[in-house]
């Protein structure tokens, strides 16, 4: 009985660890993708429309 409870607790904590890792990875990926598009991509449409923001936020621009 106690063993079962321990196993369940371990599974739950494993599940919450996985959820945490997924959360960190998901948030970091979304953040990096948005940041790349807004701040670093050199495509000229992005560059021109994001131009003033890039200068004002001190991204290396052109």
């Amino acid at each position: 009985m106690e063993k079962n409870a321990k196993a369940i607790a371990a599974t739950q904590s494993q599940a919450s660890t996985n959820a945490d890792i997924m959360g960190v990875a998901g948030a970091a990926l979304i953040g990096l993708a948005l940041l790349f598009a807004a701040g670093f991509a050199q495509a000229s449409v992005l560059h021109d429309t994001a131009h003033d923001m890039r200068h004002a936020m001190s991204f290396p621009c052109h």
Binding site: A25, G26, L34, Q42, A56, M57, S58
Partner: protein, 228 residues
Amino acid sequence: MLKKIVTSAVFAGVGAGVLAALLQLALVVPLIMEAELFESGARVHFPEGGSPQSDRGAPSVWEEPLRHIYTVGFSAVTFTAYAFLMIAGFLLAERFGHEVTTRRGLFWGLCGGLAVVIAPAISMPPELPGAIGAEVGPRQAWYLSCVVLTLIGLSQIGLGTRARYMMTAPVFLLAPHLIGAPHLDTYFGVAPPELASEFVARVMGVALISWTLLGLFAAYFWTRPEET
């Protein structure tokens, strides 16, 4: 979990991003537009053989409304990106037993501003349009490395629990500057030095204010009790 991450990041990012853009439109964008007059040659500060002198004054920001709407939009996107990354940091910090509170969010924000704007500016100051710099690729690589190393150093100081972190943190903080940013060996600037220094000071000031707001907002939305 994912819903909480997304709503916190979007609320905090759009809020801080729009406020940052308003500050930039008032303080920074006019200097960018003024520098473009020198970039295009409409104004000349260093005429051949003459003394360096030119008129002062920026074009009105009301002349190109669409351009500034883009700036507000991209500022919101950029700060939302930073908010996602900061919340990834919150999750990691909580995982290692550090509590996130709204008030601590101020420090998270200040450290973010230090890492993303102030530290890189030490070796690679923000540039006005028209400034000619080294190749953009190596500069972006140096900039990113500097941000990452500074974040590692700051988190060792702010979140580290072992004494040795106080020894390694300065190494991470100083390394990008000891290695040095890519630079040309010639000055090419066409804008007056006063304009460039005013621009750099305002970029750094506005960035610190905006980042502090971002940290505050992100921690506030992150720690708000979840509605069930």
